[in-house]
Symmetry: D2
């Protein structure tokens, strides 16, 4: 199945064949399917059992543009300019399904009470933010814990956070005029953009150092002999926690309004996507770590080792980690923070959540590379996927068997998010951008 | 012919049918045709007679994008989004040809010695700069005077200048990086653009007030989560004289280099086009004025008056000139300066040049408007064209008959451009941008 | 008297001995003195006669810092770093008094009815704006015409305008913080200043080309290891007419407010001074011109010529006007505009006003130079002063004798300033800055 | 002695009475004094014994401007606007001398071989950088270890780093011109400053997040009607390590040169001071920690407790540490980093160095506050000082007694600074700014 999905390499919200195949497999295995979750055609849930506890497992699906690649250690696109599974979501989805089915079979064989619920979650990449909309529409209500994993170049289950983030477009409108004959009658929309950028660049000195703010000018005028009446800048802001992000957002809005006021233009904005930071749950993470250690890392065959060594030569880095990292398990560590952002963040603020990563990629291979696509389509990726599937299944089993885990995880979450927390999507009431990859 | 060309409305350097029709007409009238002048397929000359004096007449051809319009006083495109003759070059070309043929017939009937040479000049609009390349390639060598005209909303032959100008693209290259994970490894090409713009905006205080500098950002990065490694800004600079323009250009290049140095990026530039200011020639202008006064302005029929009043209601202005302006001749005045730029400028620095404008457009109608297109396609435009054709023909006749005019005009030009003047195209050795409208 | 005042060289609002001497002279001549006009200690009026018409004459007094100089053609300060009459106000005041007394004697001898009223006007230079406060407080109410003159390097009575202008300080306040340990807690007041400047520099493209905007940063923070909580920028704006100036001012205030909003700071402003443009009055100017032509220019003695030629060698210019310019009268011309600003502007909007300049300085000597100071203290200056005194006296006599002049001048003013004009000082309700030179 | 020095509160490089008193005390105790070390009048060394090992102890002296305060828990300056020991250097110096004398007495009584060498180090604060010059001039050659301490609000000997930093002034020179009449002839030096700042603000996105860059504009023009020909900006840059700092410095120089190039100005710079980051030495730090734990924290009397509680009410903070922190010893921790900078940094790159801080200030009292001055002048400060003196003395004794410590500390230093390290002062060849506090 992972191979089939890898070949399809479908973009976010357009994972039509992928979701069909996944649903079929789970249906065949005796799960009950709900489609079109939260109004998203390719989102689904597959449920087995009933009543408490309810253990959710995430299964992702979407591919990335421009990364099409054959399963070879040298650059060779399968489809020129096509999509490819550079983040390994073909493995992610398939591995999670394998875990869910394994747990279901165990429950059935042991007569365990409770529910196992797999979430087919589309469009994690780019401006997709699929899970944000699932959370906003209540798709995770009643779930006790969420387990997930992600492809990587090492095996780790340590609790790790990500950056909360928000992407928005600011559109400035001015007054067109002949730039030579009557510039005094014009008000440049590009002036608005540049003034906003200027004040944001000043602001960089006065934010906490973990903050990230970056922008590109999407529209900067058509032709230089006309004062541009339209200009557009896209901003991404990130912060280790959602409250800090909201503060930066408020200040960003002020720079936009100020830029419009100071340049005689007007401005409006549209939020493209917004993600919470991941709230790690140590209660669950420790359980996951112990199971990962039980399952162990990945042993390469001679052929795989040869592939690994070949593909590593294509990475321009002087400090690659050792190949042996694939066989090892990273020690448990606190306070991890990745500079990336993920829509698992939103989930982690409403349900206690734990994840792991496994070495589906040869050590040293970065995410979102053709090298990752290549690994995701051959035996190294499949082995990493099986490590994840087993670890998730064992962790789900532990949670069924240890009744204290869920209350402890819930208490930890309640404390972490604070007493008066109410989830509000950073995407506001925006509809899922179902056509963002069209 | 004007109607036919108006219907074709061909873009710059693509005036294939237009040039064909013009050449045919002139060939039929006994002119000798040279095509592909200066390596430009649609440029041609049509010559009658031989030896001194040599009187040149310019004939333009190209239309403008997005202005397609039927000959009606309300907005109604002939082809949605299509080209239209918003600058009246259908009249320009046709009227000049009428003048040339009239002069030829007069020469023939009177046995006058000398040469009349019509220039079919393509691509005056936008980044075309057709005549710049004709001048650079020597197409005007040996010509004694140049006569031309331009559609307008009044009848005037006063000597008037234009702004010298130059358009160039500056391309900055930086270093891409993940904007959240490793911004310190990135160097933003957009930073380069913004730093250049910043220094140029500071420079505005320190240039002579007639200078014009305007820019748009053509490429400002693709997506905000990657530090952009490419960005592009287009600049237009203008100045009442070419020396001043060259000074501004030198300073502009320094801001570009400085911006690259200060932001850790690199920059290269490409000149898109460059035009000299028009050097008015009073000797010729006075002659043109006296002939324009002889020919007189345009009398509207009742129907034309109704059209005029209707179309004027579509112009958002509280200070329209009176309709009667079409019938009047503007008094002779010195020191006129239009804020526009034209490739006639280059011609006027190598040959004594005089032009006039006639009321082909209802008074109050601006150039480059659908209203101008409408006028250019009906009787008002044709009447204006005939005023121009007659005035140019009479002026050519005067020049043939008054042997002192050419030496006086030549002396005036020599004085105006200074002793050590050598023509250097502002477009450098760039080839004509034959595909700029494709 | 001119020599005595020249020696004192008193600064603006501190012209104590000068005003005393002037008042004494006029009192001795039979004028009635009013002191402390408009609450300004050194401002006074000296009135002779009563009833209509009322002819006012301006008499200035103040010197300039750093220009102290002996009456010699080489640089030699009388007092190192001291004040000097670099704008010739010692002559201005004395010449006007001579004119007033001459007119009075003529009135007395001829039994003419009416009033001659001399205004001792302090502090024209720098941020003084003395006459602005006199106008605001109604000191010119009931006056029919104002005559004045100014030292220069030529003899001219053409109607000429000046730039309206306004000077203001913008004070930004932020939040101090340790710049290394807690920059995120700081809000830099200097950021506010730089953001304002940035938006103003963008605005330069979108104002009419005669506009002038210039700024300096008076306070930009104390030490770089503390985020500055205070910063101050001083702006001067100028425009050919007061309405245009007010538009620029409104936009400037918006950039300030926007800068504060966009940088998390606050801003307040203080207007330092504001002057109207001069509204020339052609009715009066023509009269003045005819009298200037009657009086004629200045003939140098051999000694004066030698002084003139010597002092001209100290001016670094390749295009000095001929020395003979001092003997000539400039032809009458319209539409003159100096780039300087003067508080005569305010007067000219409430009373029809005409002025002239005379060649008190050797041709080629600029205002506000030590060379001007030298000329103002010797015979060349005194001769120029007498030309002015005679011309003003003759013009006043003409106005007494030609009853049509005042209504015509008044009608011209009414038309020029528009129907709904109400004078509002650009300095608002600010008190005269009596200590600006202390 | 601490009380006497506290009363004198002498500024950096002007610690004349303080250095005299210290030298006297050490001379009386049998130390040999060398004055005027490294050409600095108030710098001295006091040496006892001879030969290896050589243990150095630092003793600081200088006070801070504006912090004069009586030893009371409410704000009450001893001298209005005067200097005060807000960083506790009165205790620092005195405590170190007490330690040195104690070690000397122990050596004498036990017949221990080796050298104890106290450094009287002036001008740590602000742009002083006293020890930078001592290091540059070789004053620490031949020393095996350096021990030091610093007043604080807790007792800690953990190895902690500081930020390397550099302060420099950039002076731009342009061309003055009348801002209204001839702005095109001017080149604004302030433009240069603003362009540099602009590019630096862009650069903030592209430096590692621990970097600090801050600036103030010291001179921004005199009067807004003249294009300023001189402007000056002061920059401070900081980075966790000196190599990173040097990279930032190189880029900063480029922004300055670029700003000059792009604005038609010239620029020069002067380094005011530059400090290395502190290289912590764990070998020594562990020894120091064990001795600090032996000595123990500070017990308040009832009176002291009352003072402490009173003075804490004057601090505007909602999260003061408990008063009991003064009695505790902080646990040993790695990777500490203060955002401040200190000239101990330079010392630590040439000699293995360890320091501690003791609770001379009531917990919650920040450095450089009047509250710190108050504590430094009464019993709480003296008790903290004695904890430091004892800990340093015990650590010196340990080093004498454990021959393995010095080689281990030296090896650690060698590894930390890298093989090809050569000390180069960040202040270049600048002379000590002996008059920076005059």
């Amino acid at each position: 199945m992972a191979e089939q999905i890898w070949k399809w390499a479908e973009p976010g919200y357009l994972e039509n064949k992928t979701t069909q195949l996944m649903q079929q497999e789970l249906s065949n295995a005796g799960f009950s399917i709900q489609t079109g979750v939260a109004g998203i055609p390719t989102a689904f849930t597959a449920t087995y059992g009933s009543g408490s506890p309810v253990i959710g497992i995430l299964a992702e699906m979407d591919a990335l543009p421009g990364l099409s690649q054959k399963p070879l250690p040298t650059r060779d696109p399968a489809v020129e300019g096509g999509y490819g599974h550079g983040c390994g979501h073909n493995l992610f989805g398939t591995g999670s399904i394998a875990a869910a089915i394994a747990v279901k079979e165990w429950m059935q064989s042991k007569g365990i009470k409770g529910t196992i619920k797999l979430y087919g979650t589309p469009a994690e990449e780019g401006a997709g933010g699929g899970k944000t909309y699932l959370v906003r529409e209540g798709a995770f209500n009643g779930v006790d814990v969420i387990l997930h994993w992600h492809p990587g170049d090492r095996n780790s289950a340590s609790p790790s956070s990500s950056l909360a983030y928000k992407v928005a477009t600011f559109s400035f409108r001015g007054q067109a005029a002949h730039a030579a004959a009557a510039p005094e009658k014009g008000r440049s929309a590009l002036d608005g953009v540049e003034a906003m950028n200027f004040m944001v660049n000043l602001m960089r000195e006065h934010v906490s150092q973990e903050t990230r703010i970056h922008y590109v000018i999407k529209k900067g005028g058509l032709t230089s002999n006309i004062v541009p009446d339209y200009a557009e800048v896209e901003y991404t802001i990130r912060h280790p926690n959602v409250n800090g992000l909201n503060d930066i957002w408020t200040r960003l809005l002020k720079t936009a309004d100020a830029a419009a006021m100071g340049t005689g233009t007007t401005v409006s904005h549209e939020v493209l996507t917004g993600l919470y930071n991941v709230l790690p749950n140590e209660t669950l993470a420790k359980l996951m770590q112990s199971n990962l250690e039980k399952v162990g890392g990945i042993q390469y065959t001679a052929e795989e080792l040869s592939f690994a060594e070949k593909i590593r030569t294509s990475v321009a880095s002087t400090s690659l980690p050792p190949v042996a990292q694939a066989a090892a398990i990273e020690p448990y560590a606190l306070n991890g923070l990745t500079s990336a952002s993920t829509d698992v963040g939103d989930v982690s603020w409403v349900v206690p959540t734990a994840g792991l990563s496994t070495a589906t990629w040869v050590p040293g291979i970065p995410a979102h590379s053709w090298q990752a696509v290549a690994c995701d389509g051959m035996s190294i990726g499949y082995k990493g996927m099986m490590v994840a599937a087993k670890t998730i299944a064992l962790t789900a089993v532990d949670i069924f068997l240890q009744p204290g885990v869920i209350p402890a995880a819930a208490a930890e979450l309640a404390k972490a998010r604070g007493g008066d927390f109410i989830y509000q999507s950073l995407a506001g009431d925006r509809k899922p951008p179902l056509d963002y990859r069209k």
